[in-house]
């Protein structure tokens, strides 16, 4: 007890008295308030106009409606599983263990890009392949790719603006053409990207589509040499006639049947940026003569519905990167990572509802 140590208690000058107390209390209050204000500013509470992960996901929900339990975008999908085997060319570009040549388990997801989980397949021309490579050393790689050659916007601010401009009018269920046109006029990069996307021939099926990573990353090899790259999954399956829609899930039904008949394969092709190629703008395609290096083969051996499959609760977060793959100056991987985390936070707390895609129903229909 301090009263046993009177010499210590008398060390200090003793309590402040009189008006000085008010001044000092005010100073303490100012220190605490300043710290709190700095915290609030950092958290974005003092700048409600700043784009946040919440606002991006809110914008998706505003366009697509509320579909609790489902992804806020790319909502209708199916789980896929298989392996990836490097062909020996990858390690010259990246030291990532996925390229070393061992057979790497892969789980993933094929989906429609639409944000509504029950859209008919024929209404969503954009499809995605998302993959999770799980090498034995734990140095996991996640990537999402789309069946389009470029992305329609240059950054997440434009993405939010694009969502606002294409928000369906509650009366008509369609976007206001004037708002869309105004956005395209103000954003010529988007207008050009949409032209490039429209000009690309659509694939007949999930199995015959090429899925491109759209964003630019940096590969780093064991010697420390760096290269700006984009990548694509190029199908081994030959293109067929696009079948007429036989039902709301005809693309998924066809995929389930195809995987039932045999494995599907894609080749992972890495494209190296040339001098002067833009790496920070996914609306711009690189020239077609850029060096392309095939680094391995993805084999999809099985599909499973999301209700029981291993892909539903995974964020295909583009910042889950192994040593040897790094973000570049493309702003999207960070924005996606932040927004996916917010989407996951929301849907993981919501009760799950059955996916529109039911593998067992398709298989039962085949055998019956």
């Amino acid at each position: 007890m301090s009263h046993h140590l009177p010499h210590e208690a008398q060390d200090g000058p003793g309590p402040v008295r009189g008006p000085a107390v008010i001044v000092r209390l005010a100073a303490i209050g100012a220190v605490v308030l300043t710290a709190a204000a700095g915290f609030a500013y950092t958290g974005g509470w003092l700048t409600p106009g700043r784009l946040s992960p919440e606002r991006v996901v809110d914008a998706l929900e505003a366009n697509n409606g509320q579909h609790p339990g489902f992804r806020r975008n790319h909502a209708k999908g199916i789980c896929i599983a298989g392996t990836f085997t490097g062909n020996g060319a990858g390690p010259t570009l990246s030291k990532a263990s996925v390229f070393a040549g061992a057979e790497v388990p892969v789980i993933g997801r094929l989906a429609l890009a639409a944000g509504r989980p029950a859209v008919p397949d024929e209404t969503s021309p954009v499809w995605s392949m998302a993959l999770r490579f799980l090498p034995a050393d734990g140095d996991e790689w996640r990537t999402g790719m789309n069946n389009i050659p470029v992305f329609p916007v240059r950054n997440v601010e434009e993405f939010a603006g694009f969502l606002a401009a294409t928000r369906p009018d509650p009366a008509t269920g369609k976007p206001d053409p004037a708002a869309v046109q105004a956005f395209l006029t103000a954003h010529p990069a988007t207008a050009a990207a949409l032209q490039t996307i429209k000009a690309a021939p659509p694939a007949a099926s999930f199995a015959t589509a090429t899925y491109s990573g759209l964003n630019t990353f940096r590969f780093v090899n064991a010697e420390g040499e760096e290269a700006a790259v984009r990548w694509s999954m190029v199908p081994e399956q030959t293109e067929t006639e696009r079948p007429a829609p036989s039902g709301p899930n005809y693309l998924f039904d066809e995929l389930i049947e195809a995987v039932g008949q045999g494995q599907l394969r894609w080749h992972l092709v890495v494209t190296l940026a040339g001098p002067g190629d833009v790496t920070a703008d996914p609306t711009v395609a690189w020239p077609p003569d850029r060096q392309r290096v095939e680094v391995g083969t993805l084999t999809v051996a099985s599909v499973e519905g999301e209700d029981t499959g291993s892909c539903r609760d995974v964020t295909f977060d583009p910042l889950v990167l192994p040593a040897g793959i790094e973000p570049a100056d493309d702003p999207f991987p960070a924005a996606r990572s932040a927004a996916y985390a917010e989407g996951l936070r929301r849907r993981d707390g919501e009760a799950k509802r059955p996916s529109a895609v039911q593998v067992s129903a398709v298989r039962a229909g085949e055998s019956g």
Partner: protein, 173 residues
């Protein structure tokens, strides 16, 4: 009995004060941004959290072996109790936040990467509902931590500037 905290205790206190405040600002900043800063902030957040957890173990062990100087006897009982409670809370949060963060990444089936190529094992099974609960808890505990630190700071300044007893000096660098 020495009227000051030991040099080791003061070193740990001020080192962790800097790290924890940095951590709280990084955390609240990274969940509110979609800018390129996000990847830098997340890249610091995970290893810094684990560093704070390791330091918390060292600090607790040191604290158990080296009792702090007593509070002034003339400090009202309510303030004595509040001081004690806030210190228990600060120690609890030093452990709880990194552990909840680690557990939350585990429940999300997300790699617990310290830096490229270096991972910690999961400490919980993958479970979406568990993730949702832990993710909410991580945020709420962080706000509680910041609020407790502000109260701690205000109390320390009261001791140093108004009461002018030996409490502030006992932990001053």
């Amino acid at each position: 009995m020495n009227a000051r905290f030991t040099g080791m205790a003061r070193l740990l206190h001020w080192l962790m004060a800097v790290l924890i405040l940095t951590m709280l600002f990084i955390g609240v900043g990274m969940v509110s941004t979609v800018s390129a800063r996000y990847q830098l902030l997340v890249g610091i957040h995970r290893p810094l959290g684990i560093a704070i957890l390791v330091l918390a173990f060292i600090r607790l062990a040191w604290r158990l072996g080296h009792p702090p100087p007593p509070l002034p006897a003339d400090l009202p009982a309510v303030q004595q109790a509040l001081a004690k409670l806030s210190h228990y809370l600060l120690y609890f949060l030093m452990f709880a936040l990194p552990l909840v963060g680690w557990g939350m990444l585990s429940a999300q089936d997300y790699p617990v990467q310290l830096w490229p190529g270096v991972h910690l094992p999961p400490i919980l099974p993958a479970s979406p509902m568990l993730y949702a609960v832990l993710r909410s808890a991580h945020g709420l505990l962080a706000y509680l931590f910041f609020a407790t630190i502000l109260a701690h700071l205000a109390a320390a300044l009261m001791h140093g500037l108004v009461r002018r007893d030996r409490v502030f000096a006992s932990m001053a660098p």
